[in-house]
Symmetry: C2
Subunit: 474 residues, 2 copies
């Protein structure tokens, strides 16, 4: 963290802990410079950041005042209301378009969910990989065992203690990213034609897996702060022969919420009556802004019913394609499905990541990234509030690096994206996150990068375009 | 090649070209040493190798004579006779056992099909990977495009010209090994319950994919020299609603044959009546001992009906998990299936391999490996003939590094493997290569390594055990 960021952070912490109350005047730039032993210009930069993050506002000729930080939840999107019956997933063409969109560097990609890959704390990992390659023994070039490298499974079992799970390394299978974990899990526990309940909006990759496996999805109403509605789920379970649940309960993509612990436990209870398997996507779990990170549903599972899926794609780097699944009682079925689709997972990155974790590099990196994304979230929310029309609803992510924005009903974000792309900014249209084309007035934006003028301008571009579309409608 | 190997090679070539006829006396050690300007001991070593490879035999006090090299085909296994109706694949437990078998270095693994990973011609590839990692840009850590790296698809399109294919890079999708290519292809063109015709014996990985996708297989009788019986296939097509064919026509695993070009063409004709898609597994194609390599079925396909699947697992290194599929007219369906199971393929190895090919490293390596495996084949066949009971039938591979051995009907190679494992030698039991537990008296052995005393002893161990089992039966 730069000096001004440290100063800003310490003030923000005090506000959060209520040492400074809403409306209260904050220390002057001069006194801040004195107490923190920094230059005037550093103190000024700290206040600019606090403003950007929405902690403080400057009142001309008077100074800086605490503003109501808790306002974000007042502008939250509504509880989602998807169609309450099983549907066949569509939208593959649209997903393909998003995935195949040109990625030249002059486009500000607010659309994709890729972590910060320039972080200095990631360097030791690439160094380890380079060294492993240089002295490449035959074993690094050969097939790794089907379950995955012993060393990596051991380290993952240790990491998962943070989420409350006590697993043996043999409870874990290494996969080609979280996508393979999800896909192998789905296929292990369902037959074509089965119905799967999902949170909604939901990550398009898992929705497309449901489609490809010939399954139907029932999208359950989901609250932007607490996640899947347990009441709605209970009703759906009574009404339909649901065979599995798939959800992302911690640092959800795209909504950013973390289900409260009580909800996680109740979900387990509720589904135990049906002995229902739960696919828990935990890919963003370690990027929770709260430390220690929230427990997973799996950590409360005593029946082996939860298949926990995750990867290093959001915490380290997606190009490595290393994920894992802890499939509980379904381990043999998942192993078969994993074998037939990719045989073993690539060898060298498994050993490199295991070494990186063992050296403490993972923890160091995650700590940095959590703080960075936390900070970027607040800046990002500030920008959206500033540049988007009044009435825009914004999620309040508890981890990760994506924001969900809900616009007035008349706006179609597919069209919006086409237009912003002409100005070199891409967004992820909301309809990708529904199997039935809902959320056409929503979008997902990422705030991976450290705040920059370029990104602020990108948000401004999108905001202005939304305003223009609204005006055109009048 | 060592000096004595060069000398032996030149003699072998002359025998092959009929300059020396069966039964004819070969030059004396002394004259060999003179004409090739090598030491007496080098000439002696050359003859020892020719003996091992089955080109020559020494007659006491007389010298070396050409022996009937064409005898191998006389001892070929019979045309396979699998059950002529669709079956559900079993044998997953057995495959899992093979794959999860202990791989400590004191075991001679004749069971697995892993290329020589110690070859010096592979070093430039690991160097490129090390360098790419050292200067890792963010792009190397990020998701590669869904289709795969442009540079690699271009190089593969160029390589495939050798097999007679003229493809555009966009006709190719990069996959996580050949396994994903096969699996995504199968799922793209079939529905659960469908029947797929396969050659038999057949690679267990593709058989298990058929099982996992809820398909039935009909195993077509297959000739050890010419491959799948077109007559039997024609009958099966008339009798059953077959939805796809899957086969490995070039340097087949496990039988080693290459289908004659005429058969490849007739297969296309035959299936065009039914507009039937063909999954062509070409993973060993570039390891053909004949140069230029034989054309693929795909090279004759004008209708986009052939889905060609391959990878660098046998030519370079399986731990990289980089393969590809050229799915013809099914490209969009295959892309969807690929996306839902693994999203994109790992980034860095794609760029490394592309660079390796561009620098000429691939061609150099393949040329070396072809020669090495060709030589090892002949040594290996010599050993099996020497150490196995009379009546043993042996395949005569045209490429790659696996041998198929058929024993007397009473021998169960699963039991054989249990016993040889106690002496630290593993073999691949034949029943793995059938969906219905056929070939229980067969086994697959690899001859990847350069011939060594250790490997000769391993073959001797297996041969002795077979003899013992036969004696015990009496
Ligand atoms: C919620 C969620 N699950 C799974 C994935 C896929 O992860 P991976 O790249 O590790 O396959 C993503 C990636 O975007 C995601 O956001
Ligand atoms: C005929 C055949 N096809 C496919 C495969 C799987 O290849 P990969 O390791 O590239 O997935 C193998 C590997 O043993 C094979 O022998």
């Amino acid at each position: 963290m730069k000096l001004y960021e440290q100063v800003a952070h310490s003030i923000a912490e005090r506000i959060e802990q209520s040492f400074y109350q809403t409306g209260e005047k904050l220390p002057s730039i001069r006194s801040l410079s004195l107490t923190h032993e920094v230059s005037i210009s550093t103190a000024q930069e700290a206040y600019r950041l606090l403003e950007d993050q929405g902690w403080a506002e400057s009142r001309p000729k008077s100074g800086f005042y605490v503003i109501n930080k808790q306002k974000a939840p007042q502008h939250l999107p509504d509880l989602s209301r998807p169609i309450q019956k099983p549907i066949e997933i569509s939208q593959w063409e649209e997903v393909l378009n998003l995935l195949c969109a040109s990625t030249t560097s002059d486009i500000v990609q607010l659309s994709r969910a890729i972590p910060d890959l320039e972080a200095p704390t990631l360097k030791p990992l690439t160094r380890i990989m380079s060294d492993l390659n240089k002295h490449a023994q035959a074993s690094m070039l050969s097939y790794e065992s089907l379950r995955g490298a012993d060393s990596l499974r051991l380290q993952i079992a240790r990491l998962m203690v943070d989420s409350g799970c006590r697993l043996h390394p043999d409870d874990i299978i290494i996969t080609t990213g979280c996508q393979e974990a999800l896909s192998a899990s789905l296929r292990a526990i369902t037959q074509p034609g089965d119905i799967v309940a999902v949170d909604s909006p939901s990550f398009y990759g898992s929705m497309q897996a449901i489609k490809a496996h010939g399954l139907k999805a029932i999208e359950i109403p989901t609250h932007p702060e607490t996640g899947i509605s347990l009441e709605a789920l209970e009703l759906a379970l009574e009404q339909w022969p649901i065979k599995a649940i798939q959800l992302t309960p911690t640092c959800n993509n795209p909504l950013g919420y973390t289900m409260p612990v009580e909800h996680k436990k109740r979900l387990l209870e509720l589904t135990s009556r049906y002995d229902l398997p739960i696919i828990e996507d935990d890919i963003y779990g370690d990027l929770s802004y709260i430390s220690p990170r929230p427990p997973s549903i799996k950590s409360f599972d005593t029946q082996g019913r939860v298949l926990l899926c995750s990867s290093f794609s959001k915490t380290l780097a997606p190009g490595l394609r290393i994920g894992w699944v802890a499939p509980g009682r379904y381990v043999n079925l998942v192993m078969h499905m994993k074998y037939v689709v990719t045989a073993s997972t690539s060898t060298l990155p498994q050993h490199a990541i295991a070494e990186f974790i063992a050296q403490g590099g993972y923890e160091r990196h995650i700590r940095k990234m959590r703080a960075q994304y936390h900070q970027s979230r607040d800046v990002m929310i500030g920008w959206v509030e500033k540049y988007f029309p009044v009435g825009t609803k914004i999620s309040y992510p508890q981890g990760g690096f994506v924001l969900w924005v809900e616009l007035s009903d008349e706006i179609d974000t597919v069209i919006l994206n086409e237009r912003t792309m002409r100005q070199n900014v891409s967004i992820a249209p909301g309809m990708l996150f529904s199997g039935s084309g809902k959320y056409s007035n929503c979008m997902r934006l990422n705030f991976t990068d450290k705040p920059s003028v370029k990104n602020e301008n990108a948000i401004k571009t999108v905001g202005n375009m939304v305003s223009k579309m609204l005006t055109d409608l009048l």
